[in-house]
C-alpha cells in the first residue's frame, strides 16, 4: 500500500505526474501495444473468472486457472480459439452473445477495455507462458506459502561493520546498491532508542549518565540485558499484541457496557516478561482450556478470543451474533498466524490466495463448538453467553459462601407468612383504608387555566378539564381550608369518561405530566409559600430531575382506569380555618398537551399523612374489596406487597440490603474465558452463501485449509489441534509473519511492508532472505521473543544513526534499504508515557484493573448507558497508557488522535499521521499540561538540575530527549526563558493561573510563580519537541 504511494510520489518527482490521476483506470489504458498474459490477462481471469472456473469449483467443467485445462475447454467444448477471438466462446460469453447470459454470472461485467485486451490476446495466438501455466495445483506457489529454508548468510566486503548475520543481509544489499551504512548513533541516542524499544519508557537522566560512564566494551549488551529483564518490557510488547487481540474494556456496539477482562491483558504482559515461547503463547491463548488440567493462567489466556464484540441491542438475533463472533475469530486467527486475509473466503473462494470458501467454514467449525448458554437479556430477548471465570481469593471465597447462605435464609424468612404477620397484615389493611377519613376535600372557590383549558368544578369537588388542550398549562386553584395545622396536601388524579381513553390525563393515551406544584397560604398576613418536605404517590414516576418532572403516570395498561393520588408533605403544619390555599399545578412536558383531565385536592392535619399512599393505586382497589371477595391472585399480590412493608420485618430487610451490598463489595475479579462443549460429533459449520448469514448453504466439518500443511498426526480438528497446527514447524507463514511484525516495531516498516497480508496481493519483501533467516532463527531459538529482540538490537543495522544525508534521501527516501537508523513519531501510548516520565508523574505500577486518567467532560455519552468516566484517584491518574480504560465506541481522545485503534477489530499495522489535532492535544490537553507544570517544579527543585538557568535548561532538555542540547539549542532555550520571565513579570495574574491552584508534583512556594510559569511554558515546549515525540 505505502509502497505504491511512494512510487507515485517518486514518479511525480520526475515529472510524469499527470499520469497519476488515472490510477484506477483499467489496465487497458496503461498497456503498450503488445499484450502480456501475466500482466494483462491473468489478473482479469483471477478477478472475474476464477471464482467459478478454477480448481476449487470448475463450473461447467471449465477451468481458467490452468493452461491445459483452459485450452481444453468445458462441457461445451473449447472456449479459446487461438488466433480467432471472434470465434472464441470465451469472448461470446463475456459479451453475452448468442442469447446466453453474460459472464461473469452475477458479477460485474468486464469493461470494454478488458474485453478488448482478451480479444487482442486471443488474436495474438493466446500465448500462455509456461511459468504461469498453473499446472501443479491450479495456482502458482506464492513465495509465502513455501516453507522458509534457512538461507546462506551472504558475504560482504565491509566485514568490520558486521555485528551479526542481520548485518550481512542488509549490507550485502547496500553494497549492491553502492550505498554504505550510516555511522553508529550517539550513545545518548542509543540508550533512548533502546529504552523506548524495549520498555516503552525513556531512560532517566541517571541511567543515561551511567551508560555514558560505562567504559566496558560490553556496556551496550549489558544495557540490552538490563532492559530485557525490566518488568516494563512486558508492558511495551504487550501493546502491539493487544491491538491484534482487539483487547478492550467494553462490549462495543450500542450499549457498549463494561466487561471485565483485564486479567487477560495482565496475562499478556506477564507472558512477555517470562519470555513464554511463542508456540506456547499461541496454544494457551487459542486453546488453554483444552490442555490437560489447565492452570488458572491458561484459562485466563483464552480471553484472547473472548475479546470479540458483543452486541447487547435487544433486537439482535443470537444465532447471527454468535456467527459474527465466529467470523471475527476466524479472520483474526488468519491475520495473526497466517498473515492472510481469510475474510475474502467468507463469501467466495479466495481470488488470489489458495483458500476456498470451504476452508473458511471448516475453520469456523473449529470455533463453533465452544460452550455457550442461552440467557434472557432484558425483558425481550435471549442471547448466547460464553463462560466467565471467577477469581476469588480464598478469603473472598469463604466470605462469599457465608454471605450467600445468610442471604438465602433471609430471603426465605421475608416471604413466609406467620400467624403474627397475618394479624399485623389485618391491622395494616385497616389502617390504610381508614386513612381516607383523615382527609377533607377542598371546595374550589376558583379554578383557572393559564393555557386556555376549560376547568369545571364537579359535585364531588373535583375539577374536570375540557375544551382546548394547550401545549403547556398551569392550573390555579383556590379554596378555603376547613381546619388548622395542615400537614399535607393531596392531589387525586381521577378517571372520567370524557377524557381520552378514560383519563385521568389529557394526552392521547389518557396520561398526564405534572412538572411542578406550588402551594401558597393566603391569610390576613398576606401570601406565604408553603415549603414541601417530601412527595409521595401511589403510582407513577416521581421527581425525575432529568425531565423536570414532579409526577406522571402511565394509565394505559389499566383494565379499568384507576384513580391515583399524590401527597405533598408540608415542612411544618400551617393555616387556620378561613385561610385560603392557592395551589398552582404546572404542566410543562417534552411532548405538550399532557395536562390533568380530572383531579381533586384535599388536605389533612393528620400526623401520619403518608398512610393514604401506603399501597399502590392498583392494590388499593383490592384493599377496598372485602377479603372474602378477592381472587386468589389479588390476595397473593396484597400479601406479597405487605411483606415488603411490614414493620416487624424492617430489620431483616435492612440486613438483606446490607448483605447484598457486602457481596458486591467483595470485589471478586472475573474474566472472560473460552470453554469447549462436550461433543461426540465432529464440529460443523454451515456455509453462508456470499458471506450472508441469511443464506445458508451446505454443512462442512471442522478442518484446516487444504492447500496448507495437514494437522499433525494424532491431533483432532478442534481448537487445540488448530493451535498446534498454527505453530507447527510446517507452517510456512507463522514465523515469517511474526518476526516481520517485530521488525516493523523497530524500523517503522516491516520487511514485508503489508504486515497484515503476506498473500499474493501483499507487498514483496524488501529483504526476502533476511526474513527467512530471521524466521528460521526464531524457531530454532525456541520461539523466544527476547532472543529475537536481542538479535535485532545488537545488530549494527539497528545501531546506525538515523540522521539522513542528501545522498540517502535522494536514493532511498523511505529508508527501505536501511542505510540509516529509523526515525519516527512514537505510538500513542508512548507519547503519554514519555510526558509522564519526563515530568516525574509516572506511576510504575504494573497490572490491575484499567484506570481513568483525566478526560474532558462529555466524551462518554452512550445510548442506553449512564456509565460515567470517574477520574481515578492518586497514582492511578498517572499510569502508563496501556492501562487506560478502553471504551470501544468512545476511545480515550488523545490516544485516538495519535492513531490508536478503537480495538473493535484486530489491527496489525497502525497508521502514523501528523496532524494539527495532535498538536492541540500535546499542547493543551490538561493531562499533558499537568506534565509541563510538574516538570517545571521538578527542574526548579531537584538537586540534579543544578541551580542556574543553564544547567536547569540542560537538565530539562535531557529529561525529554536524553541528550544535552547543542550550544545553539541552549541559547534558544535561554533566550526563550528570558522572554517568558519578562512576560510573566508583567502578567502576574496569568502566571498565577498558569501554575495552577493545586500544586502537582513537588510543592513550591507560590512566591516563585513567575519563575514557575516561565519554566512551565519552557517545559510545555520541550514536551512538544518533535524529538521528544519521536524515536531517533
Amino acid at each position: 500500500m505505502l509502497s505504491q504511494l511512494h512510487t507515485r510520489a517518486a514518479l511525480a518527482a520526475v515529472g510524469v505526474g499527470l499520469a497519476l490521476f488515472s490510477l484506477s483506470a483499467s489496465p487497458a489504458s496503461q498497456t503498450a501495444n503488445s499484450v502480456d498474459f501475466e500482466r494483462d490477462i491473468q489478473p482479469i481471469l483471477k478477478a472475474s473468472c476464477y471464482g467459478c472456473h478454477s480448481k476449487a469449483q470448475a463450473a461447467g467443467q471449465l477451468r481458467l486457472d490452468s493452461k491445459n485445462a483452459a485450452m481444453k475447454g468445458g462441457i461445451s467444448g473449447p472456449v479459446i480459439q487461438p488466433g480467432r477471438a471472434s470465434e472464441s466462446r470465451l469472448v461470446h460469453r463475456l459479451l453475452g452473445l448468442g442469447g446466453e447470459k453474460k459472464m461473469p454470472l452475477g458479477g460485474k461485467p468486464l469493461s470494454e477495455e478488458q474485453v478488448a485486451l482478451i480479444r487482442k490476446w486471443i488474436d495474438a495466438g493466446a500465448p500462455w507462458p509456461a511459468q504461469a501455466s498453473g499446472e501443479d495445483d491450479g495456482l502458482p506457489k506464492h513465495w509465502a506459502y513455501v516453507k522458509p529454508v534457512r538461507p546462506k548468510v551472504p558475504e560482504v566486503r565491509n566485514k568490520a561493520w558486521v555485528r551479526n548475520p542481520i548485518d550481512n543481509f542488509v549490507l550485502a544489499q547496500l553494497e549492491k546498491e553502492g550505498l554504505s551504512p550510516s555511522p553508529e548513533a550517539l550513545r545518548e541516542t542509543l540508550i533512548r532508542r533502546l529504552s523506548l524499544d524495549l520498555t516503552g519508557l525513556p531512560p532517566s537522566v541517571a541511567e543515561v549518565d551511567q551508560f555514558l560512564a560505562d567504559k566496558d566494551p560490553n556496556a551496550y549488551e549489558k544495557l540490552v540485558d538490563r532492559l530485557l529483564a525490566s518488568p516494563h518490557y512486558g508492558e511495551r510488547w504487550a501493546r502491539p499484541w493487544l491491538d491484534l487481540a482487539r483487547y478492550a474494556d467494553t462490549n462495543g456496539y450500542e450499549k457498549d457496557r463494561r466487561r471485565s477482562i483485564w486479567k487477560y491483558r495482565d496475562w499478556v504482559i506477564q507472558a512477555f516478561n517470562k519470555d513464554m515461547p511463542f508456540d506456547q503463547f499461541t496454544i494457551e491463548q487459542i486453546a488453554g482450556d483444552m490442555l490437560p488440567n489447565p492452570t488458572t493462567d491458561q484459562l485466563i489466556a483464552t480471553g484472547f478470543h473472548r475479546n470479540t464484540m458483543f452486541n447487547e441491542e435487544g433486537g439482535v438475533d443470537k444465532e447471527e451474533a454468535h456467527w459474527e463472533n465466529l467470523v471475527d475469530r476466524v479472520n483474526t486467527t488468519g491475520t495473526i498466524w497466517l498473515g492472510t486475509t481469510l475474510a475474502c473466503a467468507q463469501c467466495h473462494n479466495h481470488k488470489f490466495d489458495p483458500f476456498s470458501i470451504k476452508d473458511y467454514y471448516r475453520l469456523m467449525a473449529i470455533f463453533n463448538n465452544t460452550r455457550r448458554d442461552v440467557r434472557a437479556y432484558g425483558d425481550t430477548s435471549t442471547k448466547f453467553v460464553e463462560p466467565e471465570l471467577e477469581l476469588p481469593t480464598p478469603e473472598q471465597a469463604r466470605k462469599r459462601e457465608q454471605i450467600r447462605s445468610e442471604i438465602s435464609a433471609l430471603e426465605q424468612a421475608l416471604k413466609t407468612m406467620t400467624p403474627e404477620l397475618a394479624s399485623e397484615k389485618a391491622q395494616w389493611e385497616r389502617g390504610v383504608v381508614e386513612a381516607a377519613a383523615d382527609w377533607a376535600a377542598l371546595k374550589p372557590a376558583k379554578a383557572v387555566s393559564s393555557g386556555g383549558s376549560t376547568l369545571a368544578v364537579q359535585k364531588d369537588s373535583s375539577i374536570l378539564a375540557s375544551g382546548q388542550n394547550p401545549e403547556t398549562d398551569d392550573y390555579i386553584v383556590e379554596a378555603k381550608i376547613p381546619q388548622r395545622g395542615i400537614t399535607a396536601l393531596r392531589l387525586e388524579a381521577l378517571p372520567d369518561p370524557s377524557l381520552p381513553r378514560g383519563g385521568p390525563g389529557r394526552d392521547p393515551y389518557g396520561n398526564f405530566f405534572l412538572s411542578r406544584v406550588d402551594v401558597e397560604l393566603l391569610s390576613s398576613a398576606g401570601a406565604k409559600k408553603l415549603r414541601i418536605r417530601k412527595v409521595l404517590a401511589d403510582d407513577g414516576r416521581l421527581n425525575d430531575k432529568k425531565f423536570q418532572q414532579l409526577w406522571s403516570v402511565d394509565a394505559s395498561r389499566d383494565e379499568k382506569r384507576l384513580p391515583r393520588q399524590m401527597v405533598l408533605l408540608l415542612d411544618a403544619p400551617a393555616g387556620s380555618p378561613g385561610d385560603t390555599v392557592r395551589v398552582t399545578l404546572h404542566q410543562t412536558s417534552e411532548f405538550g398537551g399532557q395536562g390533568l383531565g380530572r383531579f381533586r385536592l384535599s388536605v389533612t392535619s393528620s400526623p401520619e399523612p403518608e398512610r393514604i399512599v401506603g399501597v399502590s393505586a392498583k392494590l388499593r382497589s383490592v384493599l377496598e374489596t372485602p377479603a372474602a371477595r378477592r381472587t386468589e391472585k389479588q390476595e397473593k399480590d396484597l400479601t406479597d406487597y405487605f411483606l415488603t412493608v411490614a414493620k416487624s420485618l424492617e430489620s431483616k430487610r435492612k440486613r438483606l440490603t446490607a448483605l447484598r451490598k457486602e457481596l458486591d463489595d467483595l470485589g471478586i475479579v472475573t474474566t472472560l474465558v473460552m470453554g469447549e462443549a462436550p461433543t461426540s460429533k465432529p464440529p460443523s459449520a454451515i456455509i453462508r452463501l456470499r458471506g450472508s448469514f441469511t443464506s445458508p448453504g451446505e454443512t462442512v466439518y471442522a478442518g484446516v485449509p487444504e492447500n496448507l500443511h495437514p494437522l499433525a498426526e494424532g491431533d483432532s480438528p478442534n481448537r487445540l489441534g488448530l493451535a498446534r497446527w498454527l505453530v507447527s514447524k510446517e507452517n510456512p507463514l507463522v514465523a515469517r509473519v511474526t518476526v516481520n511484525r517485530i521488525w516493523e516495531q523497530y524500523f517503522g516498516r516491516g520487511i514485508v511492508e503489508t504486515s497484515e497480508d503476506f498473500g499474493t496481493q501483499g507487498a514483496r519483501p524488501s529483504h526476502p532472505e533476511l526474513l527467512d533467516w530471521l524466521a528460521t532463527e526464531f524457531v530454532e531459538n525456541g520461539w523466544s521473543f527476547k532472543k529475537l529482540h536481542r538479535l535485532i538490537v545488537t545488530s549494527a543495522t539497528y545501531r546506525q544513526s538515523s540522521a539522513a544525508t542528501p545522498e540517502l534521501l535522494e536514493k532511498d527516501p523511505y529508508n527501505r534499504l536501511l542505510a540509516r537508523g529509523a526515525r519516527f513519531r512514537v505510538e500513542a501510548e508512548m507519547i503519554r508515557d514519555i510526558a509522564l516520565a519526563a515530568s516525574g508523574l509516572l506511576s510504575r505500577k504494573i497490572g490491575g484493573p484499567s484506570v481513568f486518567p483525566y478526560q474532558p467532560e462529555g466524551i462518554w455519552d452512550i445510548p442506553y448507558n449512564d456509565d460515567k468516566w470517574e477520574e481515578s484517584k492518586g497514582e492511578d491518574r498517572y499510569r502508563r497508557g496501556i492501562y487506560t480504560f478502553i471504551r470501544r465506541t468512545s476511545p480515550y481522545p488523545s490516544m485516538l488522535t495519535f492513531d490508536a485503534p478503537s480495538r473493535e477489530v484486530c489491527v496489525v499495522r497502525r497508521v502514523r499521521t501528523n496532524t494539527p489535532l495532535q498538536a492541540l492535544t500535546a499542547l493543551n490537553d490538561p493531562a499533558f499540561f499537568e506534565a509541563a507544570q510538574a516538570m517545571a517544579r521538578r527542574v526548579l527543585s531537584e538537586k540534579e538540575a543544578g541551580a542556574d538557568d543553564s544547567s536547569r535548561a540542560i537538565y530539562a532538555f535531557r529529561l525529554c530527549t536524553s541528550r544535552r542540547p547543542t550550544q545553539e539549542e541552549l541559547n534558544q532555550l535561554l533566550a526563550g526563558l528570558r522572554k517568558e520571565r519578562d512576560y510573566f513579570a508583567r502578567h502576574e495574574d496569568e502566571a498565577e493561573r498558569l501554575v495552577g491552584q493545586q500544586p502537582v508534583g513537588s510543592a513550591l512556594p507560590q512566591a516563585q510563580k513567575v519563575e514557575l510559569a516561565a519554566w512551565t511554558m519552557l517545559s510545555n515546549v520541550l514536551l512538544n519537541l518533535d524529538e521528544t515525540l519521536s524515536k531517533e
Binding site: 511525480a12 538515523s802 499521521t913 492541540l920
Partner: protein, 471 residues
Amino acid sequence: MQGEQLKAITRRYFFEKSAFGIGSVALASLLNEKLFAGNPGPHFAPKAKSIIYLFMAGGPSQLDLFDHKPKLNQFDGQPCPEELIKGERFAFIKGRPQLLGTPHRFSRYGQSGAELSNLLPHLARIVDDVAFIKSLHTTQFNHAPAQIFMNTGHQVVGRPSMGSWLTYGLGSENKDLPGFVVLLSGKNQPDGGKSCWGSGFLPTVYQGVEFRSQGDPVLFLSNPDGVSAETRRRSLDLLGNLNRTRFSVTRDPEIETRIAAYEMAYRMQSSVPELTDLSKEPESIRKLYGVTPGRPSFANNCLLARRLVERGVRFVQLYHRGWDTHGASNNEDIVNKLASLCRETDQASAALVQDLKQRGLLDSTIVMWGGEFGRTPMNEARSGSKFLGRDHHPRAFTMWLAGGGIKPGVTIGKTDDVGYNIVEDPVSVHDLHATILHLMGIDHTKLTFRFQGREFRLTDVEGEVIRKVIV
C-alpha cells in the same frame, strides 16, 4: 536538499490537482506528503462540492412522516397478513402483529404535490426543492450495525465512512479546517459509536472531527488557563526554532510537517471559535433556524453546518438521536415522541435548505435527511404496551435529498399498500452511496483503497447510480 525537494513535490502535486479543477488539496495531505496519493478524485466534473448529511439516528417512521398509506388506516388493528411476515425476522415483534394506521394527518404540498404528515409543517414549505426516495432498503435491522452500514457500506466496523472516503478522494477546500466535521445533538452519540465517522483502514486524518456543542468546539482547542494567545505564540516560535535546528541535523521531512501542523493548530485556535460563534448571525437568520446561541440544539448545528460549508468543508454530518419509536413507553412512541422530535428538527432542516438556496449555495451542496432503517407497518405492542409504536423495518424507508444536482420536486420509488415492501425502483444503501459520490464527481467503482491485498471501495462490489434522482 531533500526537504526542499519534497516541498517541490508538494507544490507540483497541488498544481496538478488544480489543473484538474479541484483548486485545493486535503488538509491532511498538505501536512503529510506520505498521504499524497490520497485525493484520487474527482473523475469528472462534479455537480456538488459539499454535503450536509442530517442523520436521524434511531430510524424515523416513514409511515408517519412521508409514506402515506390510507389502506393502513383502513385496516388499523387488523392482524398483519401472514404472507408478509412469513419467515421474517424482527428485532422485537413477537407472534402475529397488528397493522397500525398513522395517528397523524397527511396533506399534499407545493407544486410537486408531495404528501407529508402534519408533523412536518416546515418541510412542507420547501417540498419543491426536495427529492424524496421512498424505496430505500437496507440489510440490517439493529441500530449499531445498520448505522455502520449506512455510513460505511458494511455492517461490521472497520471500513471508512462516506465522509472519510470523500475527504480522501477530494480533500478539503479550507486549509484551516478539517474536511469532515461531525455535529451531535439529541440524546447521546449514535448507537454505532464513533465508528460511524471513523476512517476505517484509511489514515486517521480522514476521520470525522467532532465539533462539540459544549466546552471547546474542538477538543483541546483552548489554551490552558493562564496561557494567552501571546504566550502561545512565543512558545510556538521557540518550538519552531528548536525543531528547525533539529531538522538541520536529521533532515527528516516529518519535522517540517510537524512544524506546519503546529502552525495550523494555532490558526485553528482563532478560526474555529469565529466559525462556531453564532451570535454574529443576524437575528433573522437565527429566527429562521430557531437558534438560541449558547444552547446546544439541532438548530444550532444546522446553522453551523451552513457556516462550515461556506468555508469549504467537504462533508458535514449531523446526528440527531432519538427516533427509535417502538412505543414501549410514552417516551418513544409515534404520537408524542415523534411529534416532539419533529419539533426539534423540522424547522431547522427546512431552514437549512432555504438558507443555502438564498445564498446560492444549494446548487453546490447536497442536503440529505434520513436514518438507518424505517419502521414497520405493524404496531409493536412490546410486552402488551398500549403506546403506539413501530419496530425496525429494513425493507422500505424514506429519505429526502436536496441541492447539489438532486432533481427538485420529485418522488422516487413506491411501496405496497401497507408500506411493507418496495414495489417500484428499489434503492439500496450502495446505490445511495454511488449516487452521492457521482454527484461529487466520483465514479464509485474507481475510488478505491488497497488494504489487506484487496481494493476496497465504499460501495463494496455493488451500487448503481440512481439516475432518476439526478438533474
